[in-house]
């Protein structure tokens, strides 16, 4: 009786096992390739002439394409244009478009769409009217050729117009059919198609089988909104997501030790500096600006607090750019308290009995503006600088503010010196030099103005030859550092943290990531 019961149990178990194997075999083979990427915030909207935030840009990059793409190593490669050229002056730019490309809604990609899109970029709906205003007119000699006539020569046309978020080209047909709804149901030509958006939770993209390029290999690309850095880390470690965008500094070492996790730091085009306001005392005096730099050991601070995410650098142009001349070439103000004291004395300051620097009986007071975690370790670095200044005899403190209020005060010039960054997705030097240091540049928050520098920057923008441009930009960087407008902190690299089973993920130092080659190994 007992043997019989055992027998039937064995049969039952064998059947069950066979059933499981039978069921799991084909199912296993068919497990869809779904990659889950964590986002800090939800996407905003996908009218490409209005995309300004990194998150939306990241997702848009999977759906839309530009005429030209930046490669992982900072070069350029064809995208929707197979070839392009400018006339020797750099005023007329011709793009030869890829043929046979269709938008996700089946409508053809051609010169008419490109013309329509870039003209919209100049229109009232666009947040890019200023950069796009360099375009005088656009002509389409045939279905696959587009010619941009600029108002004047511009060697940085690709960077300023084509490679911006507004360079993503949407389907004209879908845009006209959907109207305002297009911003929430985007249609492009990219490797992934819009599928689902559950607001505040996730965006799901499906593979575009008709994409002109190789791949993508994934069936689905899911972006999950996880605002909290600690939560992102737990989700990564428990397999809830494959790739995260941030982790608290305190978790980094543990993550690096985890055999299932890959931590990647790549140099990026993101500069960080304490920027002096030269329109008001005490930093209207170049000697005080230099003295403060000599009084602080910035290299030590950066290496102690922020490496390897932030690597010390000494120029307005990122060290990863072709226009950066290399370390030690540009004038600099390394840690040298004696020199700092000498410069302050020359500027009319005296050290009182308590060791404090004063002028006309008034102590030299410095308030460092810092945002709260907008830039990596910004508050900590500012505090360390203030600490060293105090030890040197300069009364220094840090004013930490929430970003919106901070930006307002700094834009209004209410600061003495502020911790600021400049993020770009390209090594093109002009988008750093012209924005930060040219008279009235859009990122020039310190009232900097030097006619000689402005003239060189103008000339560099009108020069097409890269070697000649580099010489001009090195000269510009030299002048900027001589003026000591910026107390360089470094370049913030980009960090990617992902699970080991994610194969073929080859992120670029400039936003956004591509996922066309990614596969998930099991």
């Amino acid at each position: 009786m007992k043997a019989k019961r055992l027998n039937s149990f064995a049969v039952f178990a064998a059947l069950l096992l066979a059933g499981i194997v039978a069921l799991s075999g084909p199912a296993f083979a068919q497990v869809p390739q779904v990659l889950v990427v964590a986002l800090e915030t939800d996407v905003v909207q996908f009218d490409t002439v209005k995309i300004q935030d990194d998150t939306t840009s990241h997702v848009a990059y999977q759906i839309f394409e530009r005429l030209v793409n930046r490669t992982v190593d900072g070069g350029l490669e064809p995208a929707l244009a197979v070839a392009w050229e400018s006339d020797p002056s750099g005023q007329v730019w011709t793009f030869h478009l890829r043929q046979g490309v269709r938008f996700h809604d089946g409508s053809p990609f051609n010169a008419e769409v490109v013309k329509w899109h870039f003209e919209r970029g100049q229109g009232p709906d666009s947040y890019f009217q200023s950069p796009f205003s360099v375009i005088d007119r656009i002509e389409t000699p045939d279905e696959y050729t587009v010619v941009f006539y600029l108002k004047e020569a511009n060697a940085a046309f690709l960077e300023q117009v084509v490679l911006t978020n507004a360079g993503f080209i949407p389907s004209k047909k879908a845009f006209e059919e959907k109207g305002d709804a297009f911003a929430f149901e985007p249609v492009g030509t990219g490797p992934f198609k819009w599928d689902t958006w559950v607001k505040g939770q996730r965006v799901e993209l499906a593979r575009n089988d008709d994409w002109w390029g190789n791949g993508p290999k994934l069936d689905k690309l899911v972006f999950r909104v996880i605002p909290e850095a600690n939560t992102q880390v737990i989700e990564l470690e428990t397999g809830g997501v494959h790739i995260i965008s941030r982790a608290p500094q305190s978790d980094m070492e543990r993550l690096e030790r985890n055999p299932n996790i890959v931590v990647l730091n790549l140099p990026s085009y993101r500069t960080r500096a304490l920027e002096f306001n030269v329109t008001r005392p005490p930093f209207d005096d170049v000697r005080v600006r230099q003295a403060v730099q000599h009084a602080v050991d910035m290299q030590l601070i950066v290496s102690a607090l922020a490496e390897p995410t932030v690597m010390y650098a000494d120029s307005v142009v990122p060290t990863a750019s072709w226009a950066y001349p290399g370390p030690g070439v540009l004038p600099n103000y390394p840690y040298n308290p004696e020199r700092a004291a000498q410069l302050l004395t020359e500027a009319g300051y005296v050290r009182n009995a308590q060791g404090r620097w004063t002028k006309d009986g008034q102590p030299l007071r410095v308030v460092i503006h810092s945002s709260d975690n907008r830039y990596f370790m910004d508050t900590d670095i500012s505090a360390a600088v203030a600490n060293q200044l105090n030890r040197f005899g300069i009364e220094a403190s840090v004013r930490v503010m929430e970003w919106a209020a901070y930006l307002e005060e700094v834009r209004n010039g209410q600061h003495q010196v502020a911790f600021l960054g400049w993020n770009q997705s390209s090594p093109e030097p002009s988008i750093f030099t012209d924005a930060k240091a040219k008279t009235a540049g859009r990122g020039n928050y310190g009232g900097y103005s030097d006619p000689a520098l402005d003239a060189i920057l103008e000339q560099a923008l009108r020069t097409a030859d890269q070697e000649a441009r580099k010489e001009l930009y090195v000269e510009a960087q030299r002048i900027i550092n001589e003026n000591a407008w910026f107390f360089w902190v470094g370049n913030e690299s980009r960090t990617w943290i992902f699970r080991k089973e994610v194969q073929g993920f080859n992120p670029s130092p400039s936003l956004p990531n591509t996922y066309t080659d990614v596969v998930i190994s099991r």
């Binding site: 009232p124 996730r202 909104v225 909290e228 939560t231 737990i234 809830g240 307002e408 400049w422």
Partner: protein, 313 residues
């Protein structure tokens, strides 16, 4: 009764008007330019100016507030600066999730808090009382942020029982339940602690009254005295507190939603404040305030159910 409700509703409108004006003024007086934040720090001045003009931010403040009020009368809260979508749609997409989380939190914290409170009140100054009230103190004082992360470490990281974050779907699905457990525990913990403390002190007061002594002298069982005679009268302050707590759960779910990536109105509001998306901030706070007012009106009406001696005129 109906007169009372109408009077209450009318005074609620005044409250909401005051809330909307206060929020409007605080937003516009605090530093931060929505157009600049929208365009990004790397934007050109001309583009920022154009955005400011298009958003109507150059109009005088009273014109902007008037426009907002006129919109509210038409149930139109304006369009989000960031997404250009109607604020009502933005809120409608998120608010149900916050309500869902608040309801789930109150559903466990209220009975649990009352049970602990009764348990403690029945044996005052005993070790059991001390332990219960110690736990309640912990529940009130522990930051939800920290509690949330601890739960996540335990249930997701070490035990692997529950997904760490996100909303798995409707509560009709298993995944929906699995994802709401930790946020509801986190959000409800301080509320449960408050309910336990209030119930205990209210019960202690009632248990000391003459009619309880009478009930006991009649030979009623302690069970019957506690639950039939004492608890019902002791519940009045608990009901009041439940209304207040539910309101603050709606508005205060902010941190919990952020930690658990719960897609409610809290995360919407945080992002709107950080980006100075005035219409969304105004809309969210108005909706939260309106629900708060309505819940408390409902609580007022509930009194008469709990205690028939209370009538409204």
């Amino acid at each position: 009764m109906s007169q009372y409700v109408v009077r209450k509703l009318l005074s609620s409108i005044l409250v909401l008007l005051g809330v909307s004006l206060a929020v409007f003024l605080i937003l516009h007086l605090s530093p931060g330019d929505p157009a600049r934040l929208l365009a990004g720090p790397e934007a050109y001045e001309e583009d920022i100016a154009a955005i400011r003009e298009r958003l109507g931010l150059n109009d005088p403040l009273h014109v902007q507030y008037g426009r907002f009020l006129m919109g509210v009368l038409r149930l139109d809260l304006g369009n989000s600066f960031r997404t250009s979508r109607p604020v009502t749609q933005e809120i409608a997409a998120r608010f149900p999730y916050t309500v869902e989380l608040a309801v789930a939190s109150i559903l466990w914290s209220l009975p649990f808090g009352i049970a602990v409170g009764v348990f403690a009140a029945r044996r005052p100054n005993s070790p059991g009382d001390g332990l219960s009230m110690g736990m309640a103190l912990l529940g009130v004082s522990m930051p939800t942020f920290w509690l949330g992360l601890l739960l996540m470490l335990l249930f997701s990281y070490y035990l692997g029982w529950l997904p760490a974050s996100g909303r798995g779907g409707s509560l009709l699905t298993l995944e929906g339940w699995r994802t709401i457990i930790m946020p509801a525990l986190t959000l409800g913990s301080p509320a449960a602690a408050v309910f336990a403390r209030i119930t205990r002190s209210s019960m202690l007061q009632v248990l000391d009254l003459d009619y309880i002594r009478t009930a006991r002298s009649k030979g009623l069982s302690e069970q019957r005295v506690t639950y039939r005679h004492a608890l019902r009268n002791a519940l009045i302050p608990v009901v009041t507190m439940a209304g207040l707590q539910f309101g603050s759960l709606l508005g205060g779910a902010l941190v919990t939603e952020q930690v658990f990536a719960w897609p409610g109105i809290g995360t919407l509001l945080v992002n709107a404040i950080l980006s100075r998306d005035y219409p969304v901030v105004q809309g969210c706070i108005l909706v939260i305030a309106a629900v708060f007012v309505l819940v408390n009106l409902a609580v007022d009406l509930l009194y008469s159910l709990v205690d028939p001696r209370i009538t409204y005129s």
